[in-house]
Each structure stands twice: as structure tokens, then as C-alpha cells.
Amino acid sequence: MDALMTNFPLIMRGLAVTLEVSLLSLLLGTLLGFAGGLAMLYAGPWLRWPARAYVDLVRGVPQLVLIFAIFYGMPTIGAQVSAFTAGVLALGFFCGAHVSEIVRGGLDSIPRGQSDAAKAIGLTFRQRLRLVLLPQAIARILPAWVNTAVEVVKASSLVSLVSVIDLMMAVQQIVGRTRQTLLLYAVAAMLYFLINYAVSVVGRRLERHFAHG
């Protein structure tokens, strides 16, 4: 228990970094995902194909490979990125690929009659999307988005491998000094679980909010 108390500040700093990496990756990934999903459904071939290629490529590559590719690969083409930035970019791309597919599927599952009816009263493309299609698709997008968010939080532990001092790295450092293996990994597991539990609870609440009609 002493190991916990004396190292409590380090664990909290690690937890903060984990939350930061996760939130930034989710934000980047969600923006990329909506752009990618819309491009795959509605854009001309010059945008649709790159979007499709991005989604298929990134979904088929392990997250750790993405992180290493950016952290060690970017400097070789003259772009230095910090470990933290590399982690956020890699996990953001990972998240974005999954959210793209979720957004595409969510919008695609809205019956064509909805888009017909929206066109028939004279709504423009943007209005149809904003007022008719997305409000209905969001109820189908949200559950899968929550799953992806949970995956991103878990995958954030991989940034410890490019020596970002996140929750995982903090715990490993303490383990190295104190040898309290079981206790510390149990604490780490519990903290990851709590983050994801909170994500799920918020997600379910949002689902209920959007689940009319």
C-alpha cells in the first residue's frame, strides 16, 4: 500500500496523460470519421476513393504499427513529432477509420424515402443532412461510436511504448522501483475500467436521448 500512497501523484499524472491522449484522439478521429463517412457516401470519385483507401488501410493495420510508423517514420522525411503527438495522430487515424465506416453505415441505413421526402420539400444537400438524415443516423451511430471510444482508450496504453508517460508507463515505472506487480497492475486495470465505464454510461444516456422516432 505504501507503494501506492507515495507514488499517487505519479499515477494521477499518468492518468491525466491517458485521458488527454484519449480525448484528443477521439476528437480528431470523430472529425476525420464524419468527413470520411460523408466522402465515401456522397463525394465524387476523386475524394471517395482516397477515403475508402484510408479506411481499409488503417483498419487493417495494428495500432502499434501506426504509432511506430508515425513516431519513427516521420523524422525520416524531415518531420519531427513528439511521442505524445505521434500517439494522438496514430490513434486519431485509427479512430477516424472506424468512425468513417460507422458514419457511412449509419447514414446508409436511413431509408431512401427520407432523402426523397427531404428533397421534395426543397431542402438543399446540407439541409437534408443536418435536419433529416443525421438526426436519424445519430441513434445508429452512437452505440458503435461508444465501442470505438472504448477501443481508443484501451489502445492509448500503447503510447507508453514510445515512452509517453501515460497511466501505463507510470505504473510500469513504479513497478520497476517497488516490485508491487499485482497491486499496481490491478490499480491500472481498475482505472482503465472506470474510464471506459464512464464512457459507456454517458453513451447510454445519449442513446436514450436520441432514441425517439
Binding site: 431509408p111 424515402g113 421534395a120 426543397g122 439541409q127 422516432g213
Partner: protein
């Protein structure tokens, strides 16, 4: 256009619609005069629905011309060919063509009132209060003044379709297209929808109606058009069409209905 005589709101000339190598419409010509109700009948797959969908450009067409209120639908002429209009211009044009669908297509996440008010606010630019007032008065007109706050899932099919009609006519379009609007309804709900349509026809709404309700067609139509296999085979006065059809194909078609209606 001349001042004398009725002015056509919809003019369809030699309309051709292809999907791949399949010709759905093979040169259809049809006019709808202001204030008239034109009813299109014909067997399934004859192209009736496609004709309606071309008129408000839910479908592109490959040959011929469609004009609504004098404006070419969906394209502009450029050096002999047709160039597709940008989305915003197509949208503005569609606002003047109402459409009521077989499967209602109400927006499930909005109340009846919001369904009808949406276009008034977003397309016509009315302030919300004015839009809701106009929407409420149209809903009252179709007998749903007590259902303003109901969601589509809380309404019967007949009620949903009446909301669909209110949504279309509230925009005050130049013409309203009705695409087999009673086909998805239970038989006991058909009449409440037909009554609303008859009311609209009586007040001089310009309507183009695709239907299988022959008695109704005869009752409201100023003119009946019969389509078969992508062609407009015959058109004319409803009494003459139903009593003394000229073509064999219309005779055969009407025989199927003589027992039922």
C-alpha cells in the same frame, strides 16, 4: 404564353428515362393545366411512378424535356445538350413541386407540426411562429388539428398520409404529385385520404395523381392518362376513357378492375 385559354403548369415532352440499357420511359408527353387534376393509370411497372419522380427531379432523365411553370426541370440547355443544375437550384425548383409518397416518408424524429413546418422555415424562410401557424391550419384542414404534437409512430397510416399531404401543400407548390398514396393503406383508411385529395381538387389545386383507385380517378380527374410499358397509350376525358376506351390495352386493363371497383 398567351393570356387566353388554360396555361399548362407541367409540360412533359418526349420524356426518355433509361436505367443502364433498360428504357423505363420511351417518349412520354403529357401536360397538366393550371387547376386541373390529371390522373395517370396503368399496370405496375408501366413507368407511372418514374414519370412523377422525373418531374421533381428525384430521377434524372436522358431524353426529352420537362418544364414546370415554364422552367426546364433539373438541367439548363447548353450548346444543344443538357447540363445538370447545381443542387441548390434543383432544390429551389423542387420547392414548387409538392410530392406525396406511397410510403408516407414522414420524418420520424419530428412531430406532425414540425414535419409540415420544416420546409416553411428552411425553404420558404418564414419565421417559426408564422410557419407553425400555417402548418397548424393545414393540419386542421386535413382533419388533424388535434394531432399537432403527435410523432408519426403514434399515428395511423391514414393519419400519416394526411400529414404527408399537408406537408406537400403547405409549401403552396405550383403542382402536387401523388404517387399511389393509398396503396400502402389498410382498406378502411383509404377513404379518409381520398376525401382530403378530393377536397384539394375541388379547390383548384393543380394535381398529377398516380393511382389504382379507378372510381376515385373517375370522380376527380379532369383528364385521365393511361400508361403501359413506358408509353402513354391514351389520354382524354375520364368518362370517355372509362366508358369507351380506344385502345385494346386500356380495355384489357380496365377489365381487371370492373369486378372490384
Amino acid at each position: 404564353m398567351a393570356d387566353s385559354g388554360p396555361q399548362p403548369v407541367v409540360v412533359v415532352r418526349d420524356l426518355v428515362k433509361r436505367i443502364d440499357s433498360n428504357e423505363i420511359l420511351r417518349g412520354v408527353s403529357l401536360e397538366v393545366d393550371r387547376g386541373d387534376a390529371v390522373v395517370v393509370i396503368g399496370p405496375s411497372g408501366s413507368g407511372k411512378t418514374t414519370l412523377l419522380r422525373c418531374i421533381n427531379f428525384l430521377e434524372e432523365y436522358q431524353g426529352g424535356r420537362i418544364h414546370v411553370d415554364g422552367r426546364l426541370v433539373g438541367y439548363r440547355e447548353e450548346s444543344g445538350g443538357l447540363v445538370r443544375l447545381p443542387d441548390s437550384e434543383v432544390a429551389a425548383m423542387r420547392a414548387d413541386v409538392g410530392m406525396v409518397f406511397q410510403s408516407f416518408n414522414l420524418f420520424p424524429h419530428m412531430t406532425a407540426l414540425a414535419n409540415v413546418a420544416l420546409g416553411l422555415v428552411q425553404v420558404r424562410g418564414l419565421p417559426r411562429a408564422a410557419a407553425e401557424q400555417r402548418a397548424a391550419s393545414w393540419l386542421a384542414r386535413v382533419g388533424l388539428g388535434h394531432k399537432l404534437d403527435a410523432y408519426p409512430s403514434q399515428l395511423s397510416g391514414g393519419q400519416q398520409q394526411r400529414v404527408g399531404i399537408a406537408r406537400a401543400v403547405a409549401m403552396e407548390p405550383k403542382v402536387v404529385l401523388f404517387d399511389e398514396v393509398t396503396s400502402a393503406l389498410d382498406p378502411e383508411l383509404v377513404n379518409e385520404v381520398l376525401a382530403v385529395m378530393k377536397d384539394l381538387a375541388d379547390t383548384g389545386m393543380t394535381m398529377l395523381v398516380v393511382t389504382h383507385e379507378m372510381r376515385f380517378a373517375r370522380e376527380i380527374a379532369d383528364r385521365v392518362a393511361f400508361m403501359d410499358a413506358g408509353l402513354l397509350v391514351e389520354q382524354g376525358d375520364p368518362v370517355q376513357m372509362f366508358e369507351a376506351p380506344a385502345s385494346d390495352r386500356l380495355k384489357t386493363f380496365l377489365r381487371h378492375f370492373s369486378s372490384g371497383s
